[in-house]
Amino acid sequence: MAIRRKKIEQLIRDLLKRHGVTGAPVPVDKIARAEGATIVSKSLESEFSGFLYRDKDSVIIGVNKSQKIERQRFTIGHELGHFLLHEYDQLHTDRSGFQLRLRSPKSSEGTDATEIEANLFAAELLMPTAFLERELAVGTRIDAIDDEQIAKLAKKYGVSTQALLIKLSRMGYITD
């Protein structure tokens, strides 16, 4: 399955518009609820980050509360992505480290494509390209942005600095 980047970006633009979100931080939990999901959370000792469950009359997003708040927000975004993009599994569970599996040997298989899509969805939802472009002048290079600025920006968006750096590099603010 090809990664539907354009479709995801369009979906997020519509979503933000529909819920009247014009700036950071994006209220990912409110959006998920408004889209029909119930969010439940619990502290778990394992690396379990969250799950998505759906049947004919309910949609549940579960989040591991023992993980950092930025991580929890990403998980909600990730599961919401599965909900809106992937229709098959009744239950889908996720463990930490799904970002690190981007280039695993299974990459060509469908399961990894859906994980990549859900990650793209979460990243775009929490850090909409249009919002970030407003923050950073055209032509800014990531190595010209100091750590403090990155940390401040990550805090504003409610994301980890790691997630922010990945997003900025995808947007072309970093060059090799």
Binding site: T38, V40, K42, L44, E45, S46, F48, F51, Y53, D57, S58, I60, G62, Q90, L91, T93
Partner: protein
Amino acid sequence: MPRIAEAFYVGLGALVREARLKRKMSQEQLGDAVKLSRTSINNVEKGRQKLLLDAFCKVAIAVGEEPQSFLGRYLESTKSAPVEKQIMELDAQEQQFVRDAIAKSKRKK
């Protein structure tokens, strides 16, 4: 406990819990009915305590189930439902989390 056996008792415990809540019984009430402490019932529901066959039958009856069909339904569910299969692959704490959430959403209806 080997993982598969652990999963079996976690699953069975969750089913006991579901049946008990359906009857609106407290853990204490169930314990009294089958001569087990509330702590034991809690452990059974979490899959930490394994029931002997006679105790299982008593528990099933106390929560309003026929022991044979209760066990039968459980075995059936582990065999056929993909959701159940997936849940069985999780660790005990994760299973509890997912099962509680699903059970809660079903009770709301």
